[in-house]
């Protein structure tokens, strides 16, 4: 019985210590004198591998999700003779929910796992220690550009996702199923609002970007430097980041639209 209690206490302490360590890692990586000249090429490199290379999966899945929304929405709305509402339905569900959330989930799978594995392997092969030996702070050199790259990339990816998704809904709804072209866009425009929908979606994806990139970097930085440890850390990144995104999404939705 007491052993159980002790185990519970140990888990709690470890969780809190992990959260504290993750916080200090982020602080040490971000706070400090910015060295733009040196960090700019590093940031570009990371933006490329984190953002640009994620573009294909984002565009393809955005298109298909938009097309599915158009198809599903049409079959239901047409029963009520309300197929003009297809535009706002597709646009609002993409801008408010699916754009930020699905982008964050895909990003965690596509880029987050790669970040964790990369940093974990750097740790396992003692590259991080070597950097410290040479007097280079690995947090500033390795963690910081990756963090900012993720933070900047994901909102862009979410915007692309929503835009492509709306176009997918347009393709299915208007071009294939014959919803009126003008009604599709005008009803959408009268229901979608810049501040309420688009800006809130961007805020959501900024929060998700922060959380997902942070989790991915910390899991890599703190992993056990063995092959098993790296594989566990990578899995844990995807699981933890996805859960965090879905949980936070509920909280944010309740705050923004509740």
């Amino acid at each position: 019985m007491l052993d159980r209690v002790a185990a519970l206490g140990r888990t709690t302490l470890n969780t809190i210590a992990g959260a504290g360590a993750a916080f200090f890692m982020l602080m040490r990586a971000l706070v400090g004198k910015p060295t733009l000249r040196k960090s700019w090429p590093l940031l570009m490199q990371q933006m490329y591998s984190v953002g640009v290379l994620s573009l294909v999966i984002i565009v393809v899945s955005g298109l298909f999700i938009g097309m599915v929304l158009g198809l599903q929405g049409y079959t239901i709305l047409v029963d009520f003779g309300a197929e003009q509402s297809l535009g706002p339905m597709v646009a609002l569900s993409l801008l408010r929910e699916l754009g930020p959330v699905v982008t964050a989930l895909l990003f965690a799978g596509r880029a987050g796992s790669a970040l964790t594995a990369e940093i974990g392997l750097m740790k396992a092969t003692e590259q991080l220690s070597s950097l410290e030996m040479m007097g280079v702070d690995p947090l500033r050199r390795v963690i910081s550009p990756r963090f900012w790259a993720g933070f900047y990339s994901m909102p862009i990816l979410a915007l692309v996702f929503s835009a492509v998704g709306i176009y997918g809904g347009y393709l299915v709804g208007v071009r294939w199923l014959g919803v009126d072209d003008g009604a599709f866009w005008s009803v959408m425009q009268s229901n979608v609002e810049w501040g309420q929908d688009i800006v809130n979606g961007i805020i959501k994806s900024l929060v998700f970007a922060f959380v997902v990139t942070w989790i991915a970097l910390y899991k890599g930085y703190s992993c056990t430097p063995t092959s098993v440890g790296i594989s566990r850390a990578t899995t844990s990144t995807v699981v933890t980041a996805s859960l965090a995104v879905l949980g936070l999404d509920f909280v944010l939705t309740a705050l923004m639209f509740g």
Partner: protein, 155 residues
């Protein structure tokens, strides 16, 4: 050279992001938000506001001139008081103006319809904070059915 290609790719990435934002902002959202510029407030009391909500449009002959900004109960008899934020562009309503709560379509959203009143030397113009007294409440379907049944019963 590889660094230049990387920068090019990232540059295009950012441009695509901006284009997506422009597409969403210009094509998907309503850019002509009436109540963003200079506005003034008008008030109206109703017996029943039906399904009117905050942010419902205020229209004159179908053209949106403002939005409902607040709905509250006022007075000793708890009458619904609706605060309307109207664009300063349309500031010349006379105090003979009447308001009614209308429905767009059979199942559509409810909105406020303003009917501009006549203007001559004796009427004043509505100013910021004025109340409109000539109001017509929302049609409530249950009441309509009740009246219909009542009138049928008399025959």
């Amino acid at each position: 050279m590889e660094s230049r290609n990387t920068q090019l790719a990232v540059g295009f990435f950012v441009i695509i992001g901006v284009l997506a934002l422009l597409f969403l902002g210009l094509q998907a959202a309503n850019t002509s938000v009436v109540t963003n510029g200079e506005t003034y407030k008008l008030y109206a009391k109703f017996d029943n506001i039906g399904g009117l909500k905050e942010r419902s449009p205020v229209k004159v002959g179908g053209v949106v001139v403002g939005r409902v900004s607040k709905i509250s109960l006022s007075g000793d008899y708890y009458e619904p008081l609706v605060e309307m934020t109207i664009s300063q562009e349309y500031s010349e309503f006379s105090d003979t103006t009447s308001v009614s709560i209308l429905t767009s379509g059979i199942l559509g959203e409810q909105y406020i319809g303003l009917n501009p009143g006549f203007i001559d030397d004796t009427v004043e113009m509505l100013k910021d904070g004025d109340q409109i007294y000539d109001t017509k409440s929302a049609l409530v379907l249950e009441d309509l059915i009740g009246q219909f049944l009542f009138s049928q019963g008399k025959d």
